[in-house]
Symmetry: C3
Subunit: 434 residues, 3 copies
């Protein structure tokens, strides 16, 4: 394990990726998804990009037509664009059908979306499964509109195409898997969603740099909901057999406190690890219920799917004011926030990788002194280290995993792992997991 670099380079790197991806016009299908995946593949040469045609059935769903948008605006009688998709891609309702007409102010109003409570924010609205068109704008901007006729133009296509997703598999020493999943279907918003893909990319690079891990790592980049459903419909049996833990990455780049949404079961290895890591990293983290879910855990944890996927976030989707508006921008997400997100996930993954099933090899307490393992007791802190070592040994009974022991003795896994490894080198503990 390498130490985290403290110079902030990783956070700045992730923020740079995020800034490059930010302007792309993404939706659940279409060229924006492909541009996004192509950019990620530049950082992750092993990333495989897949496509599934419109009309493909997946569980209860059907892959929709592909949406391409080239331009969209509302212009006044002087031809001035009063709402312009080129200025912000949130200005058009996602999956809007094409339109090119002069309409009355009243009719226009039925197709406008704004937030009176957040007058500076452009809301994010979509209509994937019902034919519709509309424009989003700040409430301030809306109040400036004159009650005249307007020219509305949406230059879009809705026609059979592809749903795309990316998949990166890093084989480990076993076929048991840890799964990282994130989504790539939102237009220009930073925390929800681009923080997820860039942290996933950094994790993939870090995992690639390691010597072969115990677990195989599966990292996927999918459009939310229909994308995860398509992915599950292709791999469900394999995933159910092999995935031992996993995390959904979203809203993981702002500077606020950590949040946690459990898996539906609530007591999977992923949940236990997430709670352990967050408790020690940030005792004030927000602990949500599965009833507060709202992202792809809805699919991964659905009855009959039941994958052990928990969610570690900074500010939870739906629980921060900038969520699903133009305020979720490149200032809300910071290098430090992204690096904090990466750190939590990395510590969670390390806890899973090193979750040994330790058994002490002698009966009674081992005599640490004769091995030079018992630290000198002259200072308070060395006394504490000795106590942690003795407490660890006291529970190395072959029935408690290292994570169980970390919880019992109240010490974070990242402090326990090197102590375990030292004891293991002296032959005092062995790993029943092999």
């Amino acid at each position: 394990m390498r130490d985290l670099n403290d110079d902030g380079a990783l956070g700045r790197q992730m923020h740079a990726w995020l800034s490059a991806l930010f302007p792309i016009v993404r939706s659940i299908t279409g060229p924006g998804v492909r541009q996004t995946l192509a950019y990620l593949a530049e950082q992750l040469p092993q990333l495989k990009i897949h496509e599934v045609p419109s009309g493909t059935r997946a569980f209860d769903w059907t892959v929709p037509d592909e949406w391409t948008i080239r331009d969209a605006f509302v212009a006044d009688e002087h031809g001035r664009r009063v709402i312009d998709f080129k200025q912000h891609n949130l200005h058009v309702v996602g999956y809007s059908e094409p339109v090119n007409r002069w309409i009355s102010f009243d009719e226009l109003n039925d197709h406008l979306y704004s937030l009176p409570d957040q007058p500076d924010a452009i809301p994010y609205i979509t209509s994937y499964y019902k034919r519709h068109w509309g424009f989003c704008l700040s409430h301030k901007q809306r109040q400036g509109l004159k009650p005249n006729n307007y020219h509305v133009v949406i230059d879009s296509d809705l026609k059979p195409g592809m749903l795309n997703y990316g998949e990166l598999i890093l084989p480990g020493r076993t076929v048991q898997e840890v799964m990282i999943t994130t989504y790539i279907c939102h237009p220009s918003m930073a925390n929800n969603e681009l923080s997820g893909p860039v942290v996933a990319t950094a994790l993939a690079q870090w995992l690639t740099s390691l010597a072969k891990c115990r677990f195989t790592y599966r990292i996927i980049f999918v459009p939310e909901t229909v994308g995860s459903i398509v992915y599950l419909s292709k791999h469900l049996e394999y995933l159910k057999k092999h995935v031992v833990a996993g995390f959904n990455l979203t809203c993981i780049g702002d500077d606020r406190c950590y949040s946690y949404v459990p898996s539906r079961a609530g007591n999977t290895l992923s949940d236990r690890v997430a709670l352990h890591v967050l408790k020690h990293l940030d005792p004030g983290f927000m602990r949500y219920s599965y009833l507060d879910r709202g992202s792809d855990e809805r699919q991964y944890c659905a009855p009959g799917v039941d994958l052990p996927i928990a969610t570690i976030m900074r500010s939870k989707y739906g629980a921060y004011p900038e969520y699903h508006t133009s305020l979720d921008d490149l200032t809300l997400v910071t290098p430090k926030g992204l690096e904090g997100g990466f750190t939590a996930l990395r510590k969670a993954i390390e806890a899973i990788e090193h979750n040994y099933m330790p058994q002490v090899t002698v009966l009674g307490e081992p005599q640490l002194g004769k091995r030079g393992l018992y630290p000198s007791l002259s200072t308070k802190s060395s006394g504490d280290a000795a106590l942690v070592m003795m407490n660890l040994i006291a529970y190395c009974d072959g029935a408690h995993s290292l994570l169980d022991i970390a919880e019992i003795i109240g010490v974070p896994m990242w402090e326990l792992i090197p102590i375990y490894q030292k004891l293991n080198e002296h032959g005092l503990v062995m790993d029943l997991n092999g």
Copy 2:
């Protein structure tokens, strides 16, 4: 399921039955029990009345001789009745043996029972298993007695006869049973006990009016303690095999908050349903322990009997000041109080009847929109309904009953049942219970 009628007719009906039954001189045996059962049979034509002769052994008990009381009084030297059973049937100690003597004031005093702390109340005293006689009176009345000789007359019989009880069985689609039990052995007191029999009668009429239920319903009217012991001794093996839930009805007609006494096991279906219903009906309900028991749950939950019988009450026996006195009268029990008792039991029974084991029929979240099931999101409350539906589906995994789900998602069964039924009509959920 019919909606509850809100016009109060049911409560007034129950109060009218109760008022008609109130004056009857009941004890654990004798003509009063038979008159009571005869009146109930007028409301419930299917009620079967059984008899068991005095001297019959039942577990550790023996059916006692039958007690008949015709008159009882204490008269002064002028022949004036200073205590008169005809004025209130609580004036005589239950199961008093016959007496007809002039006695001193001192001797009389040894046979008088009053409550100094409740000077207006006539206490309720019995001596079923030890030959005795006595009079009960208000402490105020007692203090007015002159220290003279008195003529005490109790015109009663104690001779072999019958113990009677009523039994109503409504066959369901299965032989599994829900049991409702109540007692009919107390003289003129309204909450303990007549509220129990009249609510049981209303429940029986309601259940009779329904299309065939899933469960068979067994409703019994027995003298307390020896009656339930006799009943158990005749049916124990059958009941242990078939009763899945049940409630003891007592003290269920006053206007105060609800109370709950668990079964001995504490975690039966009856307990879970009672807690669920009361939590949602009346969050301030009183939750007692089995150590606070004091009615026929003592027999139904005894070791080796172990029926799943819990108790839903308004004011718990022993815990309201009018209990076991003449103050437990027709004003303490009200139409509204009785209807509240009925409502709690009806909701409990409906929760048992509709406690499906639901399984969603698709993998991943179903696409509710294409079925018109996803409510429009334009208002807050329709949003909530959609959330309840999504949360219900999220736990329809074939391992959680509808009651389990109601507890997990924090929604009362009576709101969940129609949503389940709508999903079932659309083929999205099925009941693994068949």
Copy 3:
């Protein structure tokens, strides 16, 4: 069961034994251990004394050489002893190697131990497994030393010898065992440790005086750590099969509140009994975690050993200021404190002996009245006794032990045992344990 004598004789007896043992120069091996065992054998003729030679391997440990100390002092240039082992045997570091030299004040200082925070206390220091010599003294005394040369003399031996321990086995009606263990390796300190051996001695005398018990009692007196490891290495398989409960006795003679350290498993019979007894004896008792362990439970509860040994104390080792200093003397431990310790252990042992598995012999509630068992209800306290009896019967279902029932109904075992015995005499309950 005899009633506890309230005249304090037992406490005074224990304090007298303790006072006789106090001056002996004990260590983990050597003549002091043998003198101590010889004195205990005078009180307990059945005590067997065993010896194990230096060099014997036991699990991860080796029996050390035997240490004999005859004299030790630091003298000034006038031959005056400024530190003198003859004045207090804590003045010499345990297992000090021999020395006889004139040294500088600076060199002396490197071999002196005192406690600046407790300037009147001589600390207790040992160096069993690393060759070393040193003197302990009060900080006050140390500050009075002049910066001159000193003559240091330690007249000690470190050579192959024996490790000794005592063992007393009182056969019961079954081969299942309750184990009492205490240690005999500390020089002149009263609470830690002599309170343990004297309370163990009183318990052994009491158990010997009883008619044959259900359980076999094994009482051992061992040097701490290496002694318990040696003992376990000789008897582990037998103990694992037969010991059902046990207690480690230490720090059980002062007047302060009770303390409890659980076994590692935390839910053994020993733990449940200890918590039950202490809760009822002293609701303010200190409840520690196994992470606070520090005596021979470290060996008895080690992984693979896993004996059900819990610890009942007065002030916990390490948690009272006099611990491991000369202030832990004959005034800290009192006759009343020792008797309180004895009482807690005796009640714990009685709870284990009488932990029946009771089953009521009738179905439904038994009719207590016909057996004269139902107390008259005329007074509040007799009402309570009746309630306890009814509550006891209510849980005599063959699935709850008497201790389970005591916990459920909130009554101490020592009140429940005689009620059980009365019901058993009437044939109303039987013990499924036989």
